[in-house]
Symmetry: C2
Subunit: 223 residues, 2 copies
Amino acid sequence: MEQTSGVGVLDKAVLVLDAVQTGAHSLAALTQATGLSRATTHRLAVALEVHQFLTREGDGRWRSGPRLVTSGTDALLERAAPVLARLRDVTGESAQLYRRQGDLRVCVAAADLGSGLRDTVPVGVALPMTAGSAAQVLLAFSATEPPDGAAFTERTLAEVRRRGWAHSVAEREQGVASVSAPVFGADNRLVGAVSVSGPLKRLTRQPGRLHAGAVLAAAKELS
Amino acid sequence: MEQTSGVGVLDKAVLVLDAVQTGAHSLAALTQATGLSRATTHRLAVALEVHQFLTREGDGRWRSGPRLVTSGTDALLERAAPVLARLRDVTGESAQLYRRQGDLRVCVAAADLGSGLRDTVPVGVALPMTAGSAAQVLLAFSATEPPDGAAFTERTLAEVRRRGWAHSVAEREQGVASVSAPVFGADNRLVGAVSVSGPLKRLTRQPGRLHAGAVLAAAKELS
DNA sequence: TACTGACATCTCAGTATCTGGGACGCAAGG
DNA sequence: CCTTGCGTCCCAGATACTGAGATGTCAGTA
C-alpha cells in the first residue's frame, strides 16, 4: 500500500503520521510501528508538530494535528473498541471501523469472532475504494463519485445516502457479504464507516435486512 | 508565521503545500512562491502527490490532496473574489476570507476599499486565533475551545454558534471592528470565514447590526 | 531510600540522501 | 522556422539526515 515517493524523509514522516492515525500515541509505539530508530522517530514527530501535522497532549502523547483531515478523530478509536465488540456479539459477525485515506480505506479498529467461519480484516489493512460496503459509505457521504473500475455506480451511492447504509455481496471477496454505516464527527464531518462482514451463507444476499439496524446503532453511538 | 522545524526537507515540503493553499497552481507559480529551485519544487510536489497531500488536475495544476483539511477548497478561492468584491461594495468596508491553519488564521482572499479610512488585511497575512470575529467563527463552528489568552470565552462562542455570526470590537487592533460568518464545504465541513472589517467610528460598537445580513449572505453564497 | 528499567530527549561523526544546474522534450506564439 | 516558457529528468557534489549511544526523568519495586 504505502509507496515510496523518492523523497526518503517525506516517506518516513508519513510512516509516523500513519502510525498515529492507526492508534500509536507514545514515542515507543511510534518507533515500533514505523520501524525507524527512536532518534529519527522523535526528530520527525517534533518537526511534524512544528508544522501542525501532529499535536501533543499534556502527557506527551501524539495526536493528528490540525492540518490533517483526521485531526480530532483519535478519541474515536478509543471509543470504538467496546462498540465494535458489542456489534460483533449482537450480530454474530466480525465488526470493523474503516477510515478513508486518499483512494484507500484503512481498517483502524476491529472486533473479530475469533473462531468458526468468519471474515477477518486485520487492523492496518488498506483496501481499495472500488469495492465493499464501507467504500460505498465513505464515497456516498463525502460527495465523491465512484472511482474507475468501481463495483457500484453513482446511482448506488445516491441510494446509500437516502437509506443511510450500504451493503455488499461478493464485491471485495467471493463468498463475503457486508453492511456499513457512516460515522460523523464534529460539525457533521464524515470520519469513518462501521461495518460487519461475514460469509454470504449466513448473511444472505440481503445482509442489510439482517444487520442494518445494529450497524446503524453502532455508527450512531460513535458519531 | 512559518517556522523551521530542524528537518529541512519537511520545511521545504510545507512551503510547497502552503503555496498551493494560497493560490499557486502551476509548477512555475509554486517555484516562485517557495523560492526553491524548479527541480526541487517538482520533486517535492510529486512526492507529496504520492502521499496524497497534493493532487493534480487533468491540466497538471496542483491542488490540496485528500489528507489535508483544505482538500477540495481551492475552488473556493476562485469563487471568493467576486463575492468579496460585492460584499465590499454593499457594506462600504474591506472584506476578507480567512482559513484556519493550526493555531493561526490566514487571509486567503481580500477585497479592499482602496482609499479612505479603512482596515487593510493583505492576502497571506497570518493572525492569531486569540482575537477577532473570524477567530471566533473558526473556533465556534469546529467545536474548539478558546485558546489561552483569547479575548473571548466559550460562552461567546456558544452565542456565535446560536446566532450564526460573530462580531469584534477593538480585539485584534484598537479602533477596528469586524463581523464574520462561517463558510461550509462538502458535507457541512467548515472551510473558512468571511469577514468585513473597518474603523470603529463607522461600524459602531454593534457592527453586527449593520452588516451581519450582508456577511451571512456572502458566506452562504460561498458555502 | 536506593536501585532498576523503560521511556524521552539530545548529540554529532559518518554517510546516504537531497540539491539544483543544465539537458531535453513539448507547445504556443511571433 | 525560431524563440520562449514550462515541465520533467539526470547525476556529481554538497550537506542534511541518520542512529548509536549518552543523558535525564520517573514510576515501580526491593
